[in-house]
């Protein structure tokens, strides 16, 4: 029995000593959802079931429509770009993996000009929502999620 369990104990000991980044791998799965929030209807897109109630608890909009959804595997230092409505572009770049969080640089460009930028420490498997640009009688929201692979 001891002989059987000994390798397991050794494995866990090694796992404990290894940095999380090495154990989990360096790649980050980054998900981006583009949402249109308005008060034109009463509707929450089925694809927004997870964050719909969160958004409704903060905003007074009654309609949340998922316009676009994409995901990409990014190694820290690599940028990912997504075209947004209204001639905008969203740029995301995982910079570093810090414990349970992923450091992201996020920027929004409008007709090539950088209009918004932020640096955040995103909880692994968590997400952040950035909103503000006006679009079609409502506003655009960008939900960005990150998961270490």
């Amino acid at each position: 029995m001891i002989r059987t369990l000994k390798p397991l104990v050794i494995f866990f000991a090694i796992a404990l000593l290894l940095p999380g980044e090495l154990l989990a791998g360096a790649s980050v799965r980054t998900g981006i959802r583009v949402i249109h929030a308005s008060s034109d209807a009463v509707h929450v897109d089925p694809g927004l079931r997870d964050i719909g109630p969160e958004l409704e608890s903060v905003f007074r909009y009654t309609s949340y429509t998922l316009l676009k959804q994409t995901s990409m595997d990014l190694v820290p230092g690599n940028q990912g770009r997504v075209r947004l409505p209204g001639g905008r572009t969203l740029e995301v770049e995982p910079l570093d993996l810090k414990g349970r969080r992923i450091k992201y640089r996020i920027a929004i460009f409008k007709q090539g000009a950088r209009v918004f930028g932020t640096e955040v420490l995103l909880r692994n498997r968590g997400s952040i929502t950035i909103g503000g640009p006006r679009f079609k009688n409502g506003y655009l929201l960008f939900n960005i999620s990150g998961t270490r692979k």
């Binding site: 349970r100 955040v120 995103l122 997400s127 952040i128 503000g132």
Partner: protein
Amino acid sequence: METFKSNHQCRRYDAKTLGLYLDRELAPDELHGIEKHLSSCSHCRSVVENMERLSQTFSQGVDQGISGLAHGVSGEGILVRIKEEKRSFWADLADLMTAGRNVLQLASIAAILLATVICYHGDTVVPTGPSAIVNSVDGEIASVMILETQASKHTIIWYTES
């Protein structure tokens, strides 16, 4: 198993009645009548003889079984068996305890290590703190708000383009 009915060609007494006769469970006058009949009817006599043989065989078998059982359940035998059972039970329990202690120790170590690894790498634990910590915000913006929802501490940045 012999079937008496099929061999019994005499219609005066059936096998059941002959069986009752053999067990002496008939009235005296009936017993007497059958005895008289048997002296003259070879078929019925054959049936009764077969029944007797079968009965004897069965009785011998039962006797042998009972004697064997009696030997097994004798006082001495019971004590020997109890001692054997007792010894094997305690021996088994001791073995189990010894083995169990090792398994328990190793399982505890494994559980502690697993819990530590999970906490250290921390992806499956209950999330604490905001979903995102905002380090900096810049750009051509007129205003910015950083919100956090109450339910799951979801971070929201709301900005107004200038």
